[in-house]
Subunit: 219 residues, 2 copies
């Protein structure tokens, strides 16, 4: 099966496997079984084997996976074997938090520039990066040639920001604004809906043994 | 099938259906077909029917789903028919962004209190909420009786914050720190890994037609 056909839940889990393998490497662990991955990630060993089988044969029966080789291979599959400079649009609290987020830089996603349309913010710095006028995105990205963009604006301007990004050559957009942005073919956008994370949590919390339920769904 | 058995990807999509149905209601649409939901959410009509079938029979063949009834039912299933006051720990940029996030309050997740351990922040306000000393969480939550907690701290203190929350009676934790937190049985924790979102995006971007690929994975 071609890597193109891996379903999104599998792809989501690849990131967890990567994190697990990086931790193993730091701890000097050279091979790990699917059960070992289960213990560290909470994903069942059967699911681990199924997920990894989308991308070829990795493990050796009875010996487990070679940590280094699997790490390199997964990083290659996810195209994380090269650095991904990115731009952030929106220099408010969220943009500032994202610009300084340790989980981005350590995975190769480094901020190349930050943009805003607020004259009070333009020219100032966050996390060591100057804030540029969003109107200069095309010109500046012609030099930077970044392909990744993060939208950290309110909902209202998000689609317009996405359009600007596409014009400026951005090919992959991570959108934190609470609205779905649309992009043309050849560009991917991923909408991160923080409110939805709470909704999912609400569902699982209400299904815990002993959870207080008053609605008609308590069974 | 019991609602307990709906798999997580289905639960994740319920939030998208809710958003779609809320938009329909605002637009005065009274019934919508699974194809209509597909057009608005990008989720295939077959998947829509399959997802909703976990929770009972909703639609009428040839007539589609009654928007109001399905909205109420899904909100009930996700336990979103009651307000969920929540506390936030961490009054930095991320905590501040989350405290003012429009997508939370409009879904019934309202900030009840914000905590930090930085004396320079304690007593100040963000988004109209006073910042309290994290050491007072137990005492304050005894009054507030919130069950939802959001961790918006760096990685290092996140597990300790989760432990405090559990002691203070929090039953559902949304963790934004870039580290997995563990909770005892009866409490649910959801780890939001923002770096992982970029990794997933990287995977899909590298699979776009015309994407520049240099590694051995280009096929």
């Amino acid at each position: 099966m071609s890597p193109l056909e891996a379903p999104e839940p599998t792809v989501s889990r690849l990131g967890l496997y990567l994190r697990c393998l990086r931790a193993c490497k730091r701890e000097g662990i050279e091979t790990i079984s699917s059960s070992g991955i289960e213990q560290r990630t909470g994903i069942s060993s059967g699911q681990v084997r199924k997920d990894l089988s989308y991308f070829g044969e990795f493990g050796k029966p009875g010996r487990g996976y070679a940590v280094d080789a699997l790490l390199d291979r997964l990083a290659g599959i996810m195209h994380l074997d090269v650095p991904h400079p990115m731009i952030i649009v929106g220099a408010g609290n969220l943009g500032t938090a994202l610009a300084g987020h340790a989980g981005f830089a350590e995975r190769g996603f480094q901020v190349a520039a930050i943009f805003d349309n607020d004259p009070a913010k333009i020219g100032r710095q966050i996390a060591g990066h100057e804030i540029f006028d969003v109107a200069r995105m095309g010109e500046i990205n012609e030099r930077l040639r970044t392909r990744f963009g993060v939208i950290a604006t309110p909902a209202a301007p998000a689609q317009e920001v996405a359009n600007y990004m596409v014009q400026a050559g951005i090919k992959a957009i991570l959108n934190f604004a609470p609205v779905r942005v649309r992009v043309p073919e050849g560009v991917v956008a991923r909408n991160v809906d923080l409110g939805q994370e709470l909704e999912i949590l609400s569902y699982f919390a209400s299904r815990q043994p002993g959870a207080e339920r008053t609605g008609s769904d308590a069974r």
